[in-house]
Structures are given as C-alpha cells and as structure tokens.
C-alpha cells in the first residue's frame, strides 16, 4: 500500500487534435476488463478491434471476469488499475464508494468530444435522455452506462389477446382488470419476493407520474420526508389494493426473481415488474409465442402531472476509467468508440439490448420484448423520468427499501407504515456521517 502516484497518466499522453481530442498516444497500450455476464465478452472484443483500426499500434489487453470487485480491488489499492473497467454484475464495485474515494476519472471531456461517426454532433448529443444524469455525481460525469434500460410492467400480449384483456391505462381499469384476471383463475400479480425492491419501482414510478419529477429528486437528495410526500402516499395507497384484495400469486414472498419470473412465464401470473433485461434473463423458459411486452404504470387519475405513456428510462451496464489508469486518454477514446454509431449498432446486434446511442436500434431485428421497449421509449419521448438514489446509496435500495417493500407487499404493513419504514432508512443514511452525500441537479 501507499505507493505514491508518480503521474503515470501523463506519460501516456500524446498531442491533442481535432481527430484526437483526448490526446491518445498512438502506441500506448490499453487494458480492458469486461464483466462476463449476460452480455458475454464478444461485443467488447468487437469494440477493441474497432479501436485498433484507428490506433493500430496500440496493444490491447483484454480480460473478462465475473468477479469485478474481487479481481480489481487489490489493483485499485496499489494504484495500478486497468484503463477500462466494465463495473457490472453481482460483484460490482459500489459506484458511490468509488466516486467518494476519488478513484474515477471525470468523463466530461468525452461528452464534449465530437462523435466518431455521427457528423456534426458531440458525443453528448448522440445519447438518449438520462444517460448523463444517471452517471453523474454532484454534477460530474463519472460512469458511462452503455445499455439503455426501461423499467415497467410486463405482460404477455398473447395471454391478453387470448383472454380478451387490454392493458389498463388508469388505476381503476387496472383494479377492474385484476378482478377479471383473478376470476379467470390466474393470479394478476407476482414479484421477486426475495428481492422485493423490484416492487419499489412501480410504486415510485406511479408517484412520479402523479406528482411530477420533484418526487424523484427529493428522494435522490435525501430531503426530509421525501418518502412521505403526498404523491408517494397516493401511490402506496393505490398499490396497497393489490395486496389487500389478494391479487398477488400466493407464495410470492418466498420466490426469488428467477422463480417469480418463471411462474409469470408459465402463465401463473399476469403482471410482473422488471427492467428490460427480462427478455434475455428468461430466454430459456419463455414459451414460444409468449410475446412479452413492457408497459408504463397506470395513471392514478386525470390530475397526473405526466401522461400515461411516460416510462422510467435509464442507462445500465456501467463502464469506468479509473483515476489512476495508465492510459486515461485511451480509455476515453475507447468509450468514444463504443458510443460511435458503428459500435452501438454492433452492440445491439450482438447482445440484443438497446444501446444508449439514439437511433442505433433502427433497422435491427429485435425480440418481441425489446421491440416493445423501443415503442414504449418512443411513446414516452421527453416525458421519460428516472431516479438515481440507488447509485448514490446502494444500501438504501438494496437493504432498507427492499425490506420495507417485503413487509408491505406481504401485507404485514400498511401504506403509512411502509413509507415510514422507507423514510427511516433514508434518514439513517442521511444521518450517517461516514457516507458521502450527493446532490442531484
């Protein structure tokens, strides 16, 4: 420990120019570490090949692992981290922790650089809404997420067509449909009982659509009583009905995410809350012709601040350049390669997920789930919203809100007690002086 930084990063700097906005030294080696999960590593190898086309003298070291934090922690500590890290998966390093320790490079230069192959545009202008927001901490952009994710309510269009059901646009329609579904012998809802935070997403989304974007901002900024706002109360009261009226598949609290999603794929439940990785995750057990689709949360009433079509769109699959990387300019240039139209299209084709580059899915053949995601995002347009407290304070979502959701959706707490428990969790983070706080702009 304790080897002081001798300024290695400057050693790898070359001349800055229009073609080379970060000053990449043409023969500086680049080390890339990829999370070998749902997306595999082939897409990254393709990006590396593209990088080498422009910088043929750069030697790229590629490695892939499922344990990002265990593999890389020692290298962060002794000051010799790789240049590009795909910080993802269950072994992800807590981003808030990395930012608060000054371990990451500010990526703002990347946003202001010209796009590699979209003429006349800066990288910033090629991205879908929310990408910069979700990677920013106190106004500085540290984390580039390359996959665009929608969160919503999923259903099988085939099941709905067969039974003559239509996806509900208002809360009253939703409850009425739940009654019909239950009467038909199917459970209207199921959720990841052992990771009940999955249900916090529709609750917060409903509240944001009802009360406007400040609902999310206040939660993100740990404002006092943010979880007990009128909008959150209205939303929790509404959602309580699916608990009270027994609209949830019996046994759900004992299921994990895969078990509940599988029950849903088997038609035992009609709705489930998830993000757009669902189609990929369920590939092996989804029956042919199931036709899954995502839809926004139903509107609470006519006074909702956002239209029904508004969905939560955000970016996931984070990439970082460590502050002590030997080749920081190369890391930024690698990011610019990933965000070129060519790189983005290749990514979408290889991993069947959306890229954060706008328009990169045009002309690609996508599965039914992903097609519905593209449509939902188009319909949502500029009304899209997001929240980021789970990036700032991972513990708040993964442990505290998670536990509160479990109690609430198992029917052991009332809406008021549920919001009280969430607020108590948020307050405990706000009070803890050993946790660095961030402000969302």
């Amino acid at each position: 420990m304790g080897s002081d930084d001798s300024g290695d990063s400057t050693a790898a700097a070359g001349e800055k120019s229009e073609q080379n906005p970060f000053g990449v030294k043409e023969d500086a080696p680049l080390e890339v570490v990829i999370f070998n999960g749902g997306y595999g590593e082939d897409y990254a190898k393709a990006h590396e090949a593209m990088y080498n086309e422009k910088w043929p003298k750069a030697k790229i070291t590629h490695s892939a692992t499922q344990e990002i934090s265990k593999t890389l922690q020692p290298r962060f500590v002794d000051g010799s981290p790789p240049d590009v890290v795909n910080n993802s998966g269950a072994g992800q390093i807590d981003q808030g922790g990395l930012v608060s320790q000054g371990a990451l490079t500010d990526l703002t230069a990347l946003l202001d650089a010209p796009s590699l192959d979209v003429p006349g545009k800066k990288v910033r202008d090629t991205l879908l809404p929310g990408v910069v927001d979700v990677g920013s901490y106190d106004g500085k952009f540290y984390v580039l997420n390359i996959s665009y994710t929608t969160y919503g309510i999923w259903y099988s269009t085939k099941l709905f067509a067969d039974k003559g059901w239509t996806y509900p646009k208002t809360w009253d329609e939703h409850i009425a449909l739940c009654r019909t579904i239950k009467a038909a012998g199917t459970a209207p809802w199921t959720y990841a009982g052992k990771h009940p935070r999955y249900m916090s997403w529709p609750v917060i989304a409903t509240a944001i659509k009802f009360g406007g974007l400040d609902v999310a901002k206040n939660i993100d900024n740990l404002e006092p009583n943010a979880w007990k706002s009128d909008a959150m109360k209205a939303s929790a009261d509404a959602w309580y009905q699916i608990v009270k009226d027994g609209f949830i598949l019996p046994g759900t609290p004992g299921l994990d995410h895969v078990q509940s999603q599988t029950a849903w794929c088997q038609g035992k439940a009609a709705f489930i809350s998830c993000g757009s990785w669902l189609e990929n995750e369920q590939k092996a057990v989804t029956p042919a012709g199931f036709n899954m689709a995502v839809a926004p949360t139903p509107s609470l009433g006519a006074s909702d601040k956002l239209p029904f079509e508004a969905v939560r769109g955000t970016a996931s699959e984070p990439f970082i350049v460590p502050a002590k990387a030997k080749n920081v300019p190369g890391g930024l240039e690698y990011f610019r390669t990933m965000l070129s139209m060519k790189g983005a299209k290749d990514f979408t084709g290889k991993v069947s997920a959306l890229s954060v580059v706008a328009g990169s899915a045009d002309g690609a053949t996508l599965g039914p789930g992903l097609t519905s995601v593209v449509k939902a995002l188009e319909a949502s347009g500029t009304n899209g919203f997001n929240w980021v407290y789970q990036n700032y304070y991972r513990k708040l979502e993964r442990e505290l809100v998670d536990a509160a959701c479990g109690e609430f959706f198992s029917g052991r707490t009332t809406p008021a007690e549920f919001l009280e428990q969430c607020q108590k969790g948020a307050d405990s983070i706000a009070k803890d002086t050993s946790i660095k706080k961030y402000k969302r702009a």
Partner: protein, 302 residues
C-alpha cells in the same frame, strides 16, 4: 542421529508456521488496524478515526439484530445437534435389542450411517440451493407433502416468522450426520462389558444413554460443543444463499452484516473490519466459556 533432530524439526515446522503467520495471523492484525480507520477499500488512503467505528457499531440496530440472531443460533444449534447426534448414534450402535444377546445397533445400521453422512459430503452451497427449492412455497417438497394433508403451507423463507428457523433447521440437518459418526466412533471405544452389566441390571435405553454413554463420551461432546458454537456464530453461507438476511432482516447474522458492509451494499471496509473484530472477540469468548463450562475429569479405561 542426535545432531539431525533440530534441522528436521525446523524443516517441518517453519513452512506451516510461516503460512499460518502470513495467511491467518497477519490478516487478523491488519483487520484490527483497519477497524480504526475509515478505509473505503479502493484507494490506498485511509484516515485514522480511533474508535468511531466501534461507537457507530454500538448504536447500529441492524448489527444488534444480527447479534441477537447469532445468540439464538448459539443457544439452539449445538444443543439440538448434539442431542440428535447422540440419539442417532445410540440407536445405530446399541439400539437393537430384538431379543438377541449383546449390544448391537438397529437393523440397517450401515445404510443409516451412510445416509446420515450424505450432507457432510455436499458443499454448503449445494445444501443451501437444494433447501431453497425444498422450501419453495408452490413447487417445493415441503409444501408438496403438506398439501395432501389439507394444509396450505406457509411461504417459509418468505415469512419473517419462519425464515430464520428454516435456516436454523438446515444448519442442524447439515451438521448432525458428522456428529453421528463422531459419537458413534467414540461409543465403539466404550468397553462392551459395561453395557452388558447395565443390561443385566435391567436399565432402560434412556437410562443407559444418560447415566453411562454421555458421561463416558464427555470429551467428545465437549469438542462437538465448541465446534458447533463456533459454527453458530457464523452461519454466513447458508443465510446469504437462502434468505440474504431477509425478510426484513429477520434472518440476518453478524457475518452477513460484515460482508454486506464491505462488499455488497457498502464499501465501508473500516466499519466492516470493526464488525469483524467484534465477531472475533465474541467467538473467542464463546470458545473459552464453552471449554470452561464443560470441563470435567477425564475418564480412562483401564
């Protein structure tokens, strides 16, 4: 030969001691040092914060909740495991009295012994995964057995009233087999004529177990007690894989708290080390107390 003795001893002792020092002692010492800092785990910088982490820990309800669960494990797991282990070992070694002379086990002893030992062969991870499916509320073996009886089983791991006890049951289940074999082996060493004499006096099986077998097995029981007490203060793998401490922290244990604080939902390695240091002292005190409390004179067979 004399001259060669010390080099030989040194040659055999130094490598293991060195390994022990590097891989066991030095991490302990480092953990003590880290627990007095605010180290975040991903830079070389750490600030000395004195006992801040320990005062924070003292006021952390989630840590206390976890310690409380470990205390229950400590009270229940060794007792139940040893009781079951002794019972099964007795049945396998001297349970059969089907009119035959002598002391034998029940019929099918060899098969039972094999079956009891199965869990010991499986890795803990596999045990956790298998039991997670057994407890599955809709397709699980357990509720599948209850259904024909007309009972709609609970959600087990999804219900804070049962989740912790479900994990505790698996902990006992996975340990019993080993102690059946351990106690069984120790019973083999007890001279048969003692039992034959007791039989002639007309003692029941229960009296034989309590008055003869357990006192003669006391050394072994004591060892089992300490092992199980240490295991009860851990429980991390089963809990993490089966419930992840949920629902609502109802099955949390101190090892999981430490892991989550450092690796999962936080990167506060300083605070996690403080939890580890507390865990170290808890385990040490429990082991010492267990040794003291169960101390008795050794019995030697002439």
């Amino acid at each position: 030969m004399r001259h060669g003795k010390y080099p030989l001893i040194v040659a055999f002792l130094v490598p293991p001691l060195l390994l022990y020092g590097v891989f066991v002692l030095s991490p302990y010492v480092q953990a003590f040092q880290i627990s007095t800092t605010d180290w975040g785990g991903y830079t070389a910088d750490a600030n000395y914060v004195g006992f801040d982490n320990f005062t924070r820990l003292f006021r952390d309800d989630y840590v206390w909740n976890a310690i409380q669960n470990n205390a229950i494990l400590l009270a229940v797991v060794p007792l139940v495991t040893i009781a079951l282990g002794l019972f099964f070992a007795t049945m396998l070694n001297m349970g059969g009295r089907g009119g035959k002379a002598g002391v034998t086990g029940v019929r099918g002893t060899a098969a039972y012994r094999l079956v009891y030992f199965f869990p010991q062969v499986l890795s803990v991870v596999i045990i956790a995964v298998v039991w997670r499916e057994v407890y599955h509320p809709n397709n699980g073996l357990l509720n599948g057995l209850l259904k024909p009886l007309g009972i709609d089983g609970p959600t087990w791991l999804g219900d804070p009233r049962y989740a912790f006890w479900c994990v505790l049951a698996v902990m006992v289940w996975s340990n019993v087999g080993f102690y059946v074999v351990l106690f069984g082996a120790a019973m083999q060493a007890i001279p048969r004529d003692i039992y034959e004499a007791v039989l002639l006096d007309g003692a029941s099986r229960f009296v034989t177990l309590v008055r003869i077998t357990i006192p003669l097995l006391w050394d072994t029981v004591q060892v089992a007690w300490i092992y199980l007490a240490i295991a009860a203060l851990d429980g991390f793998i089963l809990v993490q894989l089966m419930t992840d401490g949920g629902p609502n922290h109802s099955s949390d244990v101190i090892g999981l708290r430490m892991y989550n604080t450092a690796f999962a939902s936080d990167t506060r390695f300083g605070y996690a080390s403080a939890i580890g240091v507390v865990m170290f002292f808890l385990t040490l005190s429990v082991a010492v107390l267990a040794l003291r409390a169960s101390k008795r004179d050794r019995i030697e067979y002439s």
